[in-house]
Point group: D2
Chain length 327, copies 4
Amino acid sequence: MTRSVLSTLATAALISLGHAAAAQPADQVGRSPWGPADEIGALNKITPASTLAVLGRIRSGQVYDLSVEYFVGMPSYYVLGQPRYQIWNVHTPQGTIVDDPNGLGKEKNSHVTYSGSAISMYVHTGTHIDALSHFGLGGLIYNGLRTDEHLGDRGWRRGGIEKFPPIIARGVLLDIARHKGVEVLPPSYGITVDDLEQAAAAQGVTLEDGDVVMVRTGRMQWFRDADRYMRDTPGLTRESANFLADRGAIVIGVDNISTDVGPSQEADNWVPVHSAMLSQRGVPIMQNVNLEQLAADRVHQFAWIGAPLKLRGADGAPMRPIALPIR
Amino acid sequence: MTRSVLSTLATAALISLGHAAAAQPADQVGRSPWGPADEIGALNKITPASTLAVLGRIRSGQVYDLSVEYFVGMPSYYVLGQPRYQIWNVHTPQGTIVDDPNGLGKEKNSHVTYSGSAISMYVHTGTHIDALSHFGLGGLIYNGLRTDEHLGDRGWRRGGIEKFPPIIARGVLLDIARHKGVEVLPPSYGITVDDLEQAAAAQGVTLEDGDVVMVRTGRMQWFRDADRYMRDTPGLTRESANFLADRGAIVIGVDNISTDVGPSQEADNWVPVHSAMLSQRGVPIMQNVNLEQLAADRVHQFAWIGAPLKLRGADGAPMRPIALPIR
Amino acid sequence: MTRSVLSTLATAALISLGHAAAAQPADQVGRSPWGPADEIGALNKITPASTLAVLGRIRSGQVYDLSVEYFVGMPSYYVLGQPRYQIWNVHTPQGTIVDDPNGLGKEKNSHVTYSGSAISMYVHTGTHIDALSHFGLGGLIYNGLRTDEHLGDRGWRRGGIEKFPPIIARGVLLDIARHKGVEVLPPSYGITVDDLEQAAAAQGVTLEDGDVVMVRTGRMQWFRDADRYMRDTPGLTRESANFLADRGAIVIGVDNISTDVGPSQEADNWVPVHSAMLSQRGVPIMQNVNLEQLAADRVHQFAWIGAPLKLRGADGAPMRPIALPIR
Amino acid sequence: MTRSVLSTLATAALISLGHAAAAQPADQVGRSPWGPADEIGALNKITPASTLAVLGRIRSGQVYDLSVEYFVGMPSYYVLGQPRYQIWNVHTPQGTIVDDPNGLGKEKNSHVTYSGSAISMYVHTGTHIDALSHFGLGGLIYNGLRTDEHLGDRGWRRGGIEKFPPIIARGVLLDIARHKGVEVLPPSYGITVDDLEQAAAAQGVTLEDGDVVMVRTGRMQWFRDADRYMRDTPGLTRESANFLADRGAIVIGVDNISTDVGPSQEADNWVPVHSAMLSQRGVPIMQNVNLEQLAADRVHQFAWIGAPLKLRGADGAPMRPIALPIR
């Protein structure tokens, strides 16, 4: 049997498994169609061929920067006690003269002017991607890995974000706020499957297998006002997120703090989209993606390029993805 | 006068200024040819046209990941008291059951399995890029910005890394270690202009204006042994770095801890390459770039794509650049 | 001349200098009567003799704990971007089994059950004392030390809190809230000299030279509600603080977030009590001192014992002082 | 039955239980004689009466400071990846002028000179005390508390250091280094019961029930050289620590990094003194206690006064204990 036949069979199997995954009980983690050793789920769909294909369609060198800035006071998950973003000076020109840390003396340290800063942050801060390990169900994470076996004190021995490859794929923008004719979706609004389908149709977007899907609520316009930005966020629901996964999304990103609607509309699950995507479907999700410029320019198809920092063992990582318009 | 004529004149002016900059006294910061408001130096050479041009030359979807992993115990600047990389768990599945931070109770927190980690680091850790503000001369940074006017307690009000655009440019690899026939360049070896020119010739590389230049010492092979990796590092010298800047490099990255040779070979300057590139030439430099796979595959020309985290005010930032072979 | 005569002369000189200090312009730092090398101000009044004297008066072994607990979400100065208190697990029993950091293997790490936590905090968090370097005037701190000469990147080369000795002295409680017949002083209430004098008289307290003076506003009762606790705090004014310094107080502590009234009642100075006490009088001040039990038991005179952590270079430090009733 | 008779019976019961505890199997945690709710073990022996008694014996106001300073580069447990001590500036005078964080403008921020620092540390750094929860056996800590039930993500819900009262007790110094006639005990030397008994006899010390016992190895003299200080530390053994607990020690402190001998002399337990004292006997232990001045002055009996920071949930805390000579 040739490689291509095998590949076709594998694809058929994946489609079948994909449907099975969608239909599985809400309270169990998904098993990867890529085998028991898999830690990256839908990102397996990225291949050199898919990468080259999308890069070959780039029609403009106009780079869209999809990341927010990191600054003290920025919105972040802190209601459960998580540490907020901090930056501080480790070395300053004046401090270096005073301290003489390198032993070179006042004159040489006055000549060479040194500054160096440090940061600390919850990894789910700013524009970032969640590893599949970020949320699980019943003590397991995606693909059946046991938390008590694989989660150490420096993060995950398996399922860490460092396993994520650089992501280059076709990206699409579904601008739900514009489609609904509002600046920002209403508080706690749950985006429906209809919203997604109709926005896609209106905006000329056909969802394809392997897409990175960017969903715009408009909330990013409130990013400078942390409390307002974070409260009662509109977002995806389990149903609409599953719809995107069914259509083949390999990453789903939203311009809000949590991808999910806040507060949760499900009594038994405070983060149903996280549960469905990370734990069951193996689809990484992103938060705080800045889609404003893409939306302003009505760019709905693009080469999406991003690579999370390889923080060994982390259940997510900041990243600065970019988009370039494609044919 | 047409735009293209103006552009030609501007280019001539830049070349002239470039030479002037190279010839300027060793103890003064450079002035940007892009005007008094400029904070990004040579990165100004990146344009939509240059971006589209290099992306159009990509010949393979094989992605080379140029970043190291971040982990506790990794090499980092700590000899001057800088904080080392740390990662810790903020939320664990078991801790969430015990603490009930969201008030949902034991049952629901046993169902939804939550983990979340946090990090802290000196921004000059792992694969990262230096902002031009990282090193200055005589109390000024590049383009004459005063440190006592622009450096606040949360980093730089001007000259911070968040000003850096995503970087897409032609990249080249100069594999000095292979050219010299060694696994790793000798301790404290200063790469010469001859080394660069001969390696380029031998490896079929012609340096072009606007290149991101990757220089390989081989040290990355010692990355897992932090003390060995950091001690007496081979690297560029002021002369060889200036040579690359003269040839039009917009970023220079090395697979060592400091770009510079360690310890410094200049009596009056402990970081001459930092001084020359950041403070005088406006050329950002990178450290700890992982060039091993490019070198193994003898890929010497590539589309180089990377975007530092937009840490407002920071004098550098981690990033995870990638390379894709070009025609 | 005998030691005791010298001592008497010195005391007279100090009193004279004390008055001079009180009368000095509001915009200049004070000079220490203990000489140009002094970094601890009024704490110089503590001697073995004064220490033994107060300890000899202890009449009860009932220990009053004057410190609050440190916990995530506690009140702290964060409105200017300061980092909030954090605690996290570095080692857990389960993580130690998973990670095997000591290489002993699963069995031995299951036998010996290891946990270890870490903290981070602004040093002015919880019950703490300010070093005299915490606030200065016009680029100088108390005793004329130049900030640009003595403040390095790891804190103060001179004037750091590690210079403070353990403090054992007579302590007194002035319960202003009770004297005014309220649970808590009104928001932004500035305690007057009259308040202090009348409360002292009513509560049988005579202020003595060398006292640690505890002033109760009642705000500590709101400590669990961080926002309420911190907003519009009642406190001392420049006048009432100077009155206590004039009477010989060597430390002044208040059961509020800032000793000062919040917001400041002086147009040109946002922390007049800090300025007056730390910068001009050389009297350390304390915040968030828990006086509830002393107040409930109406204990107004006590041996006050406390020692700030010796954080080299810090401009303040947490401490857990205690009080024991004296005759 | 009168209170005193009840007390006598209780004491007899405790002695009996103490012996039982000493004889219990090496692999099980101890049960507290103070009942199932107890979290502080031997510290229960501190009473107002015992406190008043020792304070009444103070014969000198000479205060001995038993704490080390905290500074970047200080010795600390880091071999297992624990974070090292850090201090940094959050506010500086110059940064406050540049940033204007309070919105008061350049003039007012030039007038009031503000500095503020922050710290981070593993709680077992510098002079500190271990909570009983720091080490357990078989998934339990002292008194049978289950780690999976009581250890949350912000430390211990039960068994945290905030439960420790201020400690005032008779303290004794057993100067083993001097008794053996050496500056510093040999590397990895395990102090024997004979050493303790003979040193006590030679130094005129009779161990009493309720003592805080300070054991001097001499290692503190190497504190400035972190690597030397930490390597192959001399210390107590399970036997000699149990001997001190049998004699009624309520706290045991050593002038080394770990109380224990390093590396461990027991094949199955890497921290036998921690296991024996914290997990089985309920006796808190201390590390990095500075006994140099007491030793120099040959002060062997003192009032020992100290109070750990009340870090809620922490398994240990820094403290700055003091000693005052007693009759």
